[in-house]
């Protein structure tokens, strides 16, 4: 049971990491790349770290990993948003100009 849950969460997390990396490589624009990197940051990291919690069992280290999950969930989309907004205020959209 533990092995099955660990495998499912870890492989789905790696899938989201791979898809996010493919989007960062292939998408044409900054904003589409920011969208793809947010997938990588939230879903990939969440599923992979949950699988590490299942691997570890129940002890204080699991609590620290859950703290890291909450911190990543709050901070990395915020950082992506701040970067995209800063670039938008500086340059505007690439097709329409500044709105």
């Amino acid at each position: 049971m533990k092995v099955v849950l660990f495998s499912i969460f870890l492989i789905s997390g790696l899938f989201f990491f791979a898809v996010g990396t493919l989007g960062i490589l292939r998408f044409p624009d900054l904003y589409t790349r920011a969208h793809s990197s947010a997938k990588c940051d939230t879903l990939g990291a969440f599923l992979t770290l949950i699988s590490f919690c299942i691997y570890n069992g129940f002890n204080p280290v699991t609590f620290k990993i859950i703290l890291i999950i909450i911190f990543i969930f709050i901070t990395t989309p915020t950082a992506t948003h701040i970067i995209a907004r800063g670039n938008y205020e500086k340059e505007g959209d690439s097709k329409n100009g500044k709105l």
């Binding site: 990396t21 900054l30 790349r33 691997y55 950082a79 701040i82 970067i83």
Partner: protein
Amino acid sequence: MISLLKFSLIFLSVTIFLCMYRAIKGPSIADRIIAINVVNTKVITIIIGVSFIFHETYFIDVALVYALISFTASVLISKVIKES
């Protein structure tokens, strides 16, 4: 189970190298910062996996501090982008 853990760490390292391609080639500064942000998230995951392979629990604290530093760096560099 441990072999799947090792495979996941190698897979994440390969995707880090693919992100580094975008970070080196990216046309603007913001592209590079977004790629480096993803690399930071992957490095946090790799540090926690390595702590399970080596049975060293203090690596988790290293991962927590790394998350704090990467967030601060992203916010500061985005302010530099906005003001330049």
